[in-house]
Symmetry: D2
Subunit: 143 residues, 4 copies
């Protein structure tokens, strides 16, 4: 029986013009949007949406980081590989690698926490079991 | 004689509608743009532009990170305090605190490297002396 | 007795680095964000927020347009002048002029409609009287 | 012999989370980015890039407009159909329709002008023949 849990996903992407800065390279803030796109593609692969209408929980970020190794330019094609490297009662930690033609472009991390969407201020809660049951830490990644 | 070197700056800002996500809070990628705005305001305070036309050097980011403590909502006013915490021949390291009504909203860091803009791939070079002479590490921050 | 109704507002703004495209000029989509910023500043001047928490109405756009006359570059300072040129039971029409040093940079228009936020699909409704009472068509503009 | 000129293109797209506003629908400024993505996909289909490195010409926008008919929500899939409706010595006019499941979401237009990239201020020039030769006005659209 194969696993029904997801731990990683690769998104294929092309650089859009409006993602460039005036130096002709992708603006550093855009990489966080690429990482988020890959995260949401991972959730879709697992049969989930991270933000369905009327959802009682949401997943704001508590930390995010990138190290930039090589620039991306207009119309460059690249891969965004995201994997789950930590999973606790209330949080998910991701690691992310952007690569182009086999070369490492950038390396990112992101931690999200499950919160109730109907209260202010935000209050962390346990990840609902129907979501937690769909994910696991990627092989080779220490929790 | 007072110092003619700059090491920190505070930018006052209000949240724009298009910076929010569907949860009604500022999207996590936008914080990197706030940090950059404060960086450029620091450079202007020092009498410089970070990206003048025809400049032979540029300052791409090699690392950037944020930790998020409290959400920002529509029209919230907040301060972005940036300071230089490291200065080497080719790089500048910044630390950044976003605060609202005295409460810590988020804490960020960013490292930029000086490169020549007229060559591909990007090649790091020494920060021009007329720029390096305008900045120093903020008091109390270890280099 | 002076009027307590607002019909126009001018927002002073400086170009941010992340608003540029790779040609070094502000991306054409960004002008719509400038127009929106000026709209929300007009509402604040009138003592209102266009999107308060828990509001029962919202103001999605039904049309928006810009004509571009001159480019804006990094750190350019400019004015966004917005005025109300039409006001009906359910809609507000704005006209917008961006100017730099007295020169016309771009001219925009935008029409928004009042909708209930608690129903899907969006359903247009009358602008609440406490909002409608704060605005009027700018002098010299035909309704 | 089949035509070697391109006049229209359809881009398949999914709504990203960071493109939403706090009402949970795609921000109106984002539609202009969708239209631009479709334009650049049309150019690629014609064997061209609209902004190759070291290009002597660029294509800034002189006018852009959208009418919004239905909202787009998170992860919605939709088509962006762009076609050339006008072609002169120095300009290209596009019309654009966004559709979801056969329903019209929004209708846009955009006019771009060919300029030399090496002079300030921008100066319009003839579209280079190797570019002009790749495009034509879509059948049924009056020039």
């Amino acid at each position: 029986m194969t696993s029904s849990r997801w731990s990683e996903h690769t998104l294929r992407r092309r650089v859009n013009f409006y993602e460039l800065d005036s130096a002709g390279i992708v603006h550093f803030s855009t990489f966080f949007r690429y990482m988020e796109e890959a995260e949401h593609a991972l959730w879709r692969a697992a049969g989930l949406s991270i933000a369905p209408r009327e959802s009682e929980v949401g997943f704001p970020r508590v930390a995010a980081a990138f190290e930039y190794h090589r620039p991306l330019c207009f119309e460059d094609e690249f891969d965004v590989h995201i994997r789950i490297v930590g999973l606790s009662e209330k949080t998910i930690r991701y690691a992310c690698v952007l690569a182009q033609d086999g070369q490492n472009v950038a390396t990112g991390t992101m931690t999200v926490v499950c919160v109730r969407t109907d209260v202010t201020p935000l209050k962390s809660v346990s990840i609902p079991p129907e979501i937690a049951a769909r994910f696991e830490v990627a092989a080779g990644d220490a929790q």
